[in-house]
Amino acid sequence: MNPIYLARRRRDLLVRALCWAAAIFGIVWLGLILFSLFWNGLAGLRPSVFVEMTPPPGAAEGGLANAIAGSLIMTGLGVAIGAPLGLFAGTWLAEYGRHDRLATVIRFINDILLSAPSIIIGLFVYGFIVVPMGGFSGLAGALALAVIVIPVVVRTTENMLLLVPNSLREAAAALGMPASLVIRRVAYRAARAGIVTGVLLATARVAGETAPLLFTALSNQFWSLDVTSTMANLPVTINNFVQSPYAFWKQLAWTGALLITLAVLGLNVVARLIGERKGK
């Protein structure tokens, strides 16, 4: 065979082999992480984890009940504050601001906030909420999470509303509907599945956020549903337990990590199912 063909084929084979190797390399690492997470996490998964409070240093009994409750409250509150704001902002970008210079700026800023380091958001909330309020609180943690939720929801809402065909809006407007009703009754309904997907993805994103909670919500060893004081939460509890010298704390950290991962993966899967059913 022509030597040029042979050389081309060799190079092609080499690159193909490298790409296969890269794929295997990537999937092996990620598989290993999931494996050790399940292996170590399941070992400590008992009913007491959901019932008992986080243990004091050295204790051999306890659970994560207060941390789980705190995480649920803060994530719920964060999404409840952030999602409507993001929804409305996304609506303005997609429906009113399509040809507005301001919308271009806001879109750009939003994209940057979308990937801004979350620890910076923690510092921001510390300066704006924790210091004026005079102390760490669950509310500050929830607000930090809301700041992370907003850009995600803005982005998905805008994208989903832009997918709604303009003929639908024109038909509604031709019947005499005012613009706001066209948006609320027609555009929202057409884009509902996508918007819900966006909110769920945002929830998944903040459910495991740790850095912004380190110095906003702090943590709490006891059961507390009071959002104006420090509040236990899974990520910060894991953070504290990982670096501890106690074997039982480390075990709880693995179990907590497993719970967070399952919650995040579950939310992702549900979000995708909703999104895909709509796509068909």
Partner: protein
Amino acid sequence: MAMIAEAQAVEQAPDRAGALGVFRRSDASFYWLTRLAALTVLALLGGIIVSLVIGAWPALTTFGLDFLTTQRWAPQLDTPVMGALGPIYGTLVTSFVAMLIAVPVGVGIAIFLTELCPIPLRKPFALAIELLAGIPSIIYGMWGFFVLGPFLVETVQPAMIAAFGGLPIVGAIFAGPASQLSLFNAALILAIMILPFITAISRDVFATVPPVLKEAAYGVGCTTWEVVRNVVIPYTRVGVVGGVMLALGRALGETMAVTFIIGNSFKITGSIFSPGTTISAAIASEFAESSGLHQSGLILLGLLLFVLTFAVLAAARLMLRRLELKQGR
């Protein structure tokens, strides 16, 4: 009949005007509601900048530009000395090494997914990658601390020290001893963490190449590698670079994946196997117990990180936008 209709019309007339008024008012209030929400996004960015600058001001006036060139970090002294050189060095080194590993592998996986992978496996594989991109970074961090760190110290690090440690110039970079808390371990965890991220973006970007172009190239007898090299990459170059910079922005600001295993040492030794710290790790481990000038110094570190990531992310977004515009045409 006519009279009844007329009477109804008379009755309804004020109603209709009222209804129109309600419409108009609700229309206007909805518009302003959404506009205000959109402006909140701007306000958030403004708030972040203002709060960082206010918080960092005492440190900024005390240390000035020396902050950037001092290596010593001794906030507990009577006259505190704080310099950001260590954290900046650690942030740049870990991100650089992480990108060195993750970019070729991530782009390789994306090529695999778009050109080589058997078609029935493509969707599940891509889904797995996207799900893994969503795993919280603290999970990567604790895995690195408990599993990867001990493994690296026993096997990979001694091998690398033996292989490269004796070389003349690069030897200093790979100087021993092996350490569980090191820049290298942190960089590797970062690489594993941003890998799914780079793959997901590159795959999306590669998917924008019109199939006709690729088919034409295959049609004239190009091999897979030649199609990728001469059609896919040139067509998507801006997008891939944008995606890589987005990943870099994430690596620079990542906190929880590195905090456990970087060692939190402000000293610069030049070896990637020695402990170090990054800006975000320093803030995460010291902020809650800090006060006064110490805290202000940490916020100043945060401000530096923000400026750094802002520049990288802005460049990334501008590049990705250029690709979008190209697609729209």
